[in-house]
Symmetry: C2
């Protein structure tokens, strides 16, 4: 099975301080559009519904088999190039563990949660 | 491969408003001890280091192959029975998706993030 790395983007959150305009595109939707053509090779953009970080949206997550999962919040769609950079560094780092000083500043300051790799149990002999 | 469900507990966070007493047990440590003997069958308690939710600890996560991952925060070690109940409901629900009204109240109000199941790519024919 080839390794599949994913950038999840919640496309359902509204900005909490934005006017309640139902026609206004959601920030995650704008971010996803802005990332078209900017995604690093080997990382698939996945649009998702609620990542349950609604108070600190918009929200993304980076994950893949055998890797740490990172959830980041408080993202402005204008930060698309920073998200693409962070996704590339996640791709290139063993287990997705990018050294602290190499992470984009927004990732250092707005990490919502991280979850260690799911290690499959050993097969019975 | 048998299914392995896990309850991760961050045992490194201090309480932010607690006195800086290095000898005081961390709340995640106390919670993990309290859960000994209370864990539902089929869910393994895993002590972890930082889940990066330090401002809203103590922090737990429920996850397993093919399931949603849920991160919960603001947990008091005295809530061990509630955590065990939530873990059992997570175990018994398809993909870990417990109906909203059936979730423990603390889980409804203090969900930090959730991440959809990692769906393996289809094998090439």
């Amino acid at each position: 099975m080839s390794e599949t790395l994913e950038l999840l983007i919640c496309v359902t959150c509204r900005l909490l301080d934005a006017p309640a305009d139902p026609d206004r595109p959601r920030p995650g939707r704008v971010l996803a559009d802005a990332l078209q053509g900017q995604m690093p090779a080997g990382v698939t953009l996945i649009e998702t519904e609620c990542l349950s970080n609604c108070k600190r949206g918009c929200t993304i997550a980076l994950r893949g088999p055998g890797r740490w999962t990172y959830v980041y919040g408080d993202i402005d769609p204008a930060q698309a190039p920073i998200i693409a950079e962070g996704a590339q560094k996640f791709r290139d780092a063993p287990q997705g563990l990018v050294p602290w000083r190499d992470r984009p500043e927004h990732f250092r300051k707005h990490c919502i949660a991280r979850i260690p790799p799911l290690v499959p149990p050993l097969e019975a002999p």
